[in-house]
Amino acid sequence: MNTKKKLFLLPYRFQSIGWIVVGVGVLAFITYFFLKLENRLAVTYPLYASLAIYIGLFLVGFSREKREDEFTLHLRTNSALTAMLVIFAIRIVLGIVLVILQAKGVFRKDGIVENLFDENTSFSSVFILYLILYKVRLARYNKEIKDEE
């Protein structure tokens, strides 16, 4: 089945570019702790590093596989749905626990429950978990095929 008609994805080569950009971002983050940056650069440097990681992950997550077909589409949608369910379930459970703890006076910090449901954090967590689940599942199938040989 031609998934080109059904799902817009970047060409396969963007996957390798994405991993390189992620690598550069991670490296930039590591070097940040060793470099003694001052003034504006101290603030903008980690922002650029995290932006590089985000761009890289986007390229990896939304690039075609060597052979993109209905099975990879099934893995993608399944992983996205699982990631969404897991992240929201964790957030709801943690939210309830924190509300109970705050009500009992065990834990006091203003805005912590609100931060837990912050849209940006939720979206990033869902996307990163989707990417992990999808890549792990794909790698597991590749391993099973090799084992069968």
């Binding site: 089945m1 031609n2 060597k66 052979r67 209905e70 099975f71 990879t72 199938y141 095929i145």
Partner: protein, 63 residues
């Protein structure tokens, strides 16, 4: 859903990769279908049946 793709492949003496190439999918897809981990679309089931020269019902059946 059960299928006898493995048997049909054995009759034609073709590998998973050869079948995958013939119908335009990845080898992972054939592996997942053969092992009952993925149910193919009607389009893919029809392509497979056409390749083996059989009806869809002769290749796929309900448990």
């Amino acid at each position: 859903m059960k299928n006898n793709i493995r048997v049909e492949r054995a009759i034609l003496r073709i590998s998973q990769q050869e079948l995958a190439d013939a119908i335009g999918v990845s080898r992972q897809t054939i592996y997942a279908i053969e092992n009952g981990k993925f149910i193919p679309s009607t389009e893919l089931a029809l392509k497979m049946s056409a390749y083996f020269g059989k009806t869809v019902n002769e290749i796929f059946s309900l448990d």
